[in-house]
């Protein structure tokens, strides 16, 4: 992942590979709510204005639900009929293209058994060789790849020290191709809002492509509404205590209300959804706030009550998605966008009804929704492949084809009659739908909209949810700010803090240990990071 989940427990994620070993149930990825989302590492910020690409939205479609800046993504009830083809010819040059990226899905069938992948190669005019690593392990994989000097043509930018220097040294300069109106040659990439490109500017040069998510990146708490109703629970809980009571009702046998330790959600209920916050122009740390202890205490109580799956702390995201689909957990923390992929993944579950919970206040009222970086991360073209940059950008552009085009339909849903069947104009996924998870979406991705095939109600509910939770929300304040200390030490510091959080939630250490962990965090570099963010923030404000 290009950045660290907000409350990471990266060590916890190391063993995701076990899941790949086809031994479900084991190990890994406690991560947190936003299994899919991530927060910014930030571009370097400075001197960026000149180079930003123009935003040229695709005008071939009209949304059923409008986009509202900072409040909602656009929503579509149906896939546009007779989608237009916007590409001409094949973008590739016939030579194989290598790429590496994270994935939060089970691995797809290999290329020779994967009709979608073969068709993709055909359409691109180049063979795509993608190395996928489970999201939680990606940073380690990335680090070793960098150290081994083995970066492929496209690489999703993982966590690294001194990011601006790294990008200057290892990523091809794309400015000439993408800056300003030049991006018009790449209509898919041009359809990505300008805000997302901020992350891709390093010392005034464009060195990456954003994997845009916008507001579909929101950390979200999902509930199996069908199972709640089956249990006779129809009212939405109004405070954390009610949520906890419901959890107890829903737990029994091989079912636990929770498949993860919902620390991120608990923090949102007590209005401290982030480690950092800007208060009256001052960049502050929320870590000293005793509400963090309140949130930890609350999750610890859930764990204590036995309503969290006993293997939650070590289960990878993919396993937690399975639990949720199988009804072995009722509540599931994920990225907002998972709403739709969960429907696809568990399409065969009869009566499946997934709803998002509002962010409730701990003692009633409304909590604070965290709004993360609008990008999942960024992907760069290796400096070693700079001579192929134009070709590679054309490939990226193809993969970023806007919603409503024929290319988008293919990239996201696959081949008609193989990976999906058309119902009306909607592509309804078949059993072979998982073939499309080859990871091409971490090379480049279309600007996201709210859409679920043949599920108008879900689209409406999702759009409403965005509209509702963003009313009291809180934007990641580190967006666009760069701190050298953070780039060097934040991963390690957050790792240690995450370990402490996990230990506390699991009852291995007392809640009172939190302040010691925070002190260690601050002493180990947290205080410097705060000061550097403040300085960067001041500079940005002029």
């Amino acid at each position: 992942m290009s950045a660290h989940p907000r409350h990471p427990s990266r060590r916890a994620v190391l063993t995701t590979g076990l899941g790949i070993a086809a031994l479900a149930g084991i190990s890994a990825c406690s991560s947190d709510s936003d299994g899919d989302s991530s927060t910014s590492q930030g571009g370097s910020g400075g001197g960026s204005a000149a180079a930003l690409p123009a935003y040229i939205p695709y005008e071939g479609v009209e949304a059923d639900l409008p986009v509202q800046d900072g409040r909602t993504s656009s929503g579509f009830f149906a896939y546009p009929a007779g989608p237009a083809t916007i590409s001409t010819g094949t973008p590739g040059d016939g030579e194989p293209i290598t790429a590496m990226g994270p994935t939060s899905f089970a691995l797809p069938p290999a290329m020779d058994q994967n009709a979608f992948w073969q068709e993709m190669n055909e359409r691109l005019g180049s063979e795509l060789h993608i190395t996928l690593t489970p999201g939680g392990e990606y940073d380690a994989k990335f680090a070793t790849t960098v150290a081994g000097r083995a970066l492929p043509d496209f690489f999703h930018v993982g966590s690294t020290q001194s990011l601006p220097q790294f990008m200057a040294s290892e990523a091809a300069d794309l400015t000439d191709f993408l800056s300003g109106d030049a991006i018009a040659d790449y209509p898919g990439l041009a359809n990505i809002p300008t805000a997302s490109w901020q992350d891709c500017i390093f010392d005034g040069r464009i060195r990456a492509i954003p994997i845009q998510r916008g507001l579909v990146n929101l950390p979200t708490l999902f509930a199996r509404q069908d199972l709640l109703e089956a249990a006779g629970i129809t009212a939405t809980p109004q405070n954390f205590e009610e949520l906890s009571d419901i959890s107890k009702e829903l737990t029994g046998g091989n079912t636990w209300a929770w498949g993860s330790l919902p620390l991120a959600y608990a923090r949102a209920t007590v209005d401290v959804p982030s480690y950092w916050m800007i208060v009256d122009g001052t960049f502050t740390s929320t870590l000293g706030d005793e509400r963090h202890e309140q949130a930890l205490e609350a999750v610890r109580a859930l764990q204590d009550a036995g309503v969290v799956n006993p293997d939650a702390a070590s289960a990878p995201t993919s396993t937690r998605k399975d639990w949720f689909g199988a009804g072995r957990s009722i509540f599931h923390e994920d990225s907002f966008i998972a709403w739709f992929s969960l429907y696809v993944q568990h399409g065969s579950v009869p009566g499946l009804n997934i709803q998002a919970l509002p962010v409730i206040g701990f003692d009633g009222g409304t909590g604070t929704q965290f709004v993360p970086n609008p990008n999942y991360g960024i992907t760069a073209i290796s400096a070693g492949s700079a001579d192929r940059a134009e070709t590679l950008l054309r490939v990226a552009d193809y993969l970023a084809a806007p919603f409503g085009t024929e290319e988008y339909l293919f990239c996201k849903f696959g081949i008609d009659g193989v990976n999906f069947e058309l119902e009306g104009s909607d592509p309804v996924p078949t059993d072979a739908a998982s073939e499309v998870n080859i990871g091409s979406l971490y090379i480049a991705d279309a600007a996201r909209v709210i859409y679920a095939p043949n599920r108008e109600a879900v689209v409406q509910a999702a759009w409403d949810q965005q509209n509702r939770v963003t009313e009291k929300s809180f934007q990641d304040p580190t967006l666009g700010l760069y701190s050298e200390t953070a780039s060097r030490k934040l991963a390690s510091l957050e790792g240690a803090l995450g370990d402490a959080e996990l230990d506390i939630m699991l009852g291995r250490r007392p809640v009172s240990d939190w302040s010691a962990a925070v002190e260690e965090f601050n002493a180990g570099g947290g205080a410097d990071i705060l000061a550097e963010y403040q300085a960067a923030y001041d500079e940005l404000q002029g």
């Binding site: 070993a21 190990s27 680090a143 966590s159 220097q165 799956n309 293997d311």
Partner: protein, 305 residues
């Protein structure tokens, strides 16, 4: 004169040297050349800058050892505890097993038992850990059974207090059988006439074991102990890192996982290398020391100078 002798010897050994060359080359390429990379322990290494271009910082990276960094000390403590437990509990098991196997009369049963004991050695840790998890995990077979019958569940995997017993028993289950091979080989060399003679003298089975079998094993036991001591600071990387999420860093971090977590995951390459380097040096000293000790006991040990 001397040089002609040497040349003749070289000519004579040429085929042997040629045979050894590929192995030596491999050793140089994959064992010795990478050692040069340890130089980053003295540098402020950034992977994309490169090993040689990164700036020198002297001993700065070793500071965390000197000042007793909490994470490092935690890893060191866990490592030493696990080593101690393993030497005391794991090391003797194959000896006991070998003695038991050796005393078996039926060759057929002995072979079957041996095969069964060897088998787990060939499973990777991923499989072994997964099997343990599926059987004993919080949502594993045993606990699901207990839950289904309204009994109290019991937490073994994911219980930090039981982590060391857990990894120790896994290690015994997996490798104790395999480790009997060396001991069995030595036992098979013991002259049977010794046993016959002792029987004539009226020695029982226990006396035979005490006076014949165990002394025969003494050399190999000391050799293996020395080798184990060289490994004292390594207690298994894969096995532990796979189970780290379940019990947390506090209980499970050992030096090897520390180097990985701090170095590769957290990006403190240089500091982690410094720790690894110190670990390597200490291990060499331990082996040398133990070898000396073996000589004092009148054994050959690893080598004699």
């Amino acid at each position: 004169m001397n040089s002609t002798k040497r040349a003749a010897r070289l000519r004579r050994s040429a085929p042997l040297l040629a045979l050894a060359a590929p192995g030596v080359l491999l050793l140089l390429a994959f064992q010795y050349y990478p050692l040069v990379g340890n130089v980053i322990a003295f540098k402020d290494y950034l992977p994309f800058v490169g090993v040689w271009e990164s700036p020198w910082v002297g001993l700065e990276n070793f500071e965390l050892i000197a000042r007793g960094d909490r994470r490092f000390v935690n890893a060191l403590t866990n490592t030493l505890i696990i080593t101690l437990v393993q030497v005391l509990l794991v090391f003797p098991v194959p000896i006991a097993l070998a003695l038991a196997l050796n005393s078996m009369v039926s060759d057929r049963i002995k072979r079957i038992v041996q095969s069964v004991l060897y088998l787990p050695h060939f499973l990777s840790w991923v499989i072994v850990v997964a099997v343990f998890q599926q059987f004993l995990g919080g949502a594993g077979m045993l606990n699901n059974f207990l839950r289904a019958n309204g009994l109290d569940t019991f937490s073994l995997i994911g219980n930090a207090d039981l982590f060391i017993p857990l990894v120790t028993s896994q290690l015994i289950w997996k490798d104790a059988g395999w480790a009997t091979i060396l001991f069995l080989a030595v036992l098979s060399q013991v002259d049977t006439s010794l046993y016959e003679a002792s029987t004539m003298d009226g020695a029982g089975r226990f006396r035979q074991m005490w006076h014949i079998t165990l002394p025969a094993l003494k050399g190999i036991v000391i050799l293996l102990l020395i080798l184990r001591l060289g490994d004292a600071l390594s207690v298994g990387f894969e096995q532990i890192i796979l189970q780290q999420p379940a019990v947390g860093i506090e209980a499970s971090e050992v030096l090897d996982t520390y180097v990985y977590n701090a170095g590769i995951v957290d990006g403190s390459w240089s500091e982690a290398t410094a720790v690894g380097l110190v670990k390597g040096v200490v291990s060499v000293l331990l082996v040398l020391g133990a070898n000396k000790l073996a000589h004092l006991f009148g054994e050959d040990g690893l080598y004699r100078s």
